[in-house]
């Protein structure tokens, strides 16, 4: 099976001469959850904008389903209806006064009939849990709600791939939990998701696979748990080892926890410790 989306040796030089990407290669397989991990300025946003056809590579190729991107108007329309991109700042991507109007922007641009647009808007708002807010004014919403309207605006185009730029930025803990649950629901429906983040703990906790970016290149890719253990790679990308892994390693070294099952989050680690405590109490 060929990859769903691919960057092959992509370079990108911005008009001002600065380098955005440099020999960047990465692939996305259908139906998986990806984290694009790296510090600010590593080129994460540039990768996302390439995948959606907003930027064209200076050198190298992008492919969708094995076919190179077609940058003509029709090709771009088809691409963007399949690959949706949610930007970081909601205030830069919501333009309409009312929630439902904003969500209808994409489907209307696809040229769909009014009934279809209406149905899609309702479905998208339902998916993000804002169906009751369809007629609210955008500026009355909280930051977290605005973020979900942005996602709905892309979902209404029914993309196969959802790209999100730093979706957790600015969200507090309850809102993050809520958004994670939403992303999980979408993934369960078969949507391929790629989100950028500079939080390695979150990447390990949430993603199936991680692509690590540093200085405009994808320097490593692989299953989250495997990749998060590669200290050298992480260091090259300016990342500390994930807290859960570091703690687990120490506890294994101390003989508290058995080797083998590596936790994906502090919560998972806490669960193992609690399980251990319970089993001891039962034994005692």
């Amino acid at each position: 099976m060929s990859a769903l989306l691919e960057l092959q040796a992509v370079d990108h030089i911005y008009p001002d001469g600065s380098t955005g990407l440099r020999d960047c290669t990465l692939t996305l397989q259908r139906g998986r959850r990806y984290a694009l991990l790296g510090p600010n300025g590593a080129g994460k946003t540039t990768v996302l904008q390439h995948l959606n056809g907003l930027l064209q590579p200076t050198a190298g190729t992008l492919c969708y389903d094995g076919q190179p991107f077609d940058y003509h108007r029709k090709g771009l329309t088809a691409l963007r209806s399949r690959v949706g991109l949610v930007f970081q700042n909601p205030d830069r991507q919501l333009f309409s006064a009312l929630v439902e109007e904003d969500v209808s922007f994409g489907p209307l641009n696809l040229g769909l009939p009014a009934d279809e647009v209406r149905a899609r808007v309702a479905a998208a708002l339902d998916a993000v849990g804002l169906l009751g807010h369809a007629r609210r004014a955008v500026h009355q919403l909280s930051f977290g709600q605005k973020k979900r309207v942005c996602i709905a605006g892309v979902l209404a185009m029914e993309p196969e791939v959802l790209l999100l730029d730093e979706p957790m930025a600015g969200l507090d803990a309850p809102m993050q939990t809520e958004l994670t649950a939403l992303l999980d629901r979408l993934a369960a429906r078969g949507v391929t998701i790629l989100l950028s983040t500079h939080d390695i703990d979150f990447a390990l906790r949430w993603a199936d696979d991680i692509h690590v970016m540093a200085a405009g290149r994808c320097i490593a890719s692989g299953p989250a748990q495997q990749l998060a253990a590669q200290t050298a790679v992480l260091q090259a990308a300016g990342q500390r080892p994930p807290a859960a892994l570091a703690l687990h390693a120490e506890l294994v070294a101390l003989g508290v926890l058995p080797e083998g099952q590596v936790p994906r989050s502090i919560d998972a680690l806490l669960d193992s410790l609690r399980a251990l405590k319970n089993s001891r109490e039962i034994t005692a």
Partner: protein, 244 residues
Amino acid sequence: MLIESSAYASRWRDVAPSAKALFALAGFIAAWLAHSPVAFAALTAVLVLAALLGARVQLRSYIAVALPPLGFLLLSCLTMLVGPDANGHWNFTTAMLPTVEHLALRSFAMLAAMLGLVLTTPMPDLLNLLRRLRTPELLLDLMVLCYRMLFVMQQAWDESITAQSARLGYRNLRQAWRSTGLLAGQMAVQVWQRAAALQMAADARAYQGTLRFLPTAYPQARRQQAWAALAGALMLAIALGDRL
């Protein structure tokens, strides 16, 4: 903005703006006084070379910045060269040729004087100069705010266009119009929000009603002004020599 980035990168960036303005002013006056093509050529050469060789402005930027006004010049001059002759027939006419020639040469020279100033002096330095020249405070405040917010809003605008494109907002002309209208409307509403936020930020720093900033000190200003005056005198001499 090309002029902007050239000004910050120019080798004369830290030369006193008063000296650079003096040089440009002399250029303006000399261009108004000059008569012969030779004098204009000499003036233009001095002004252009000062920018390219003295301040090391890149030739490519210089040409790119000069092209739009030169387009205006070309179009206007051609317009003036067409007209009815004595019989009422429209034709190319040479009657205006001397005027057009003088006009084009003068415009070249004055454009060079202005470009020499703006390609080497970032706007904040120019505003500082205007402050020293006693421009009304209110006008200066508008300029200071306008300049800073220009970049903030430009960035917001560009990001929004990108976000709209990602949702196919510029697929065809009709959608492009709709998207632009929506965006401009939203940005217009933001004008009030941004102004309120700036007001609050100013108040938090004990704002007293006018935007005051400490001007940059130019320890070498006198010497630089003297050089500018000398160069200016040279240009005026070229122009006046023409009249004698």
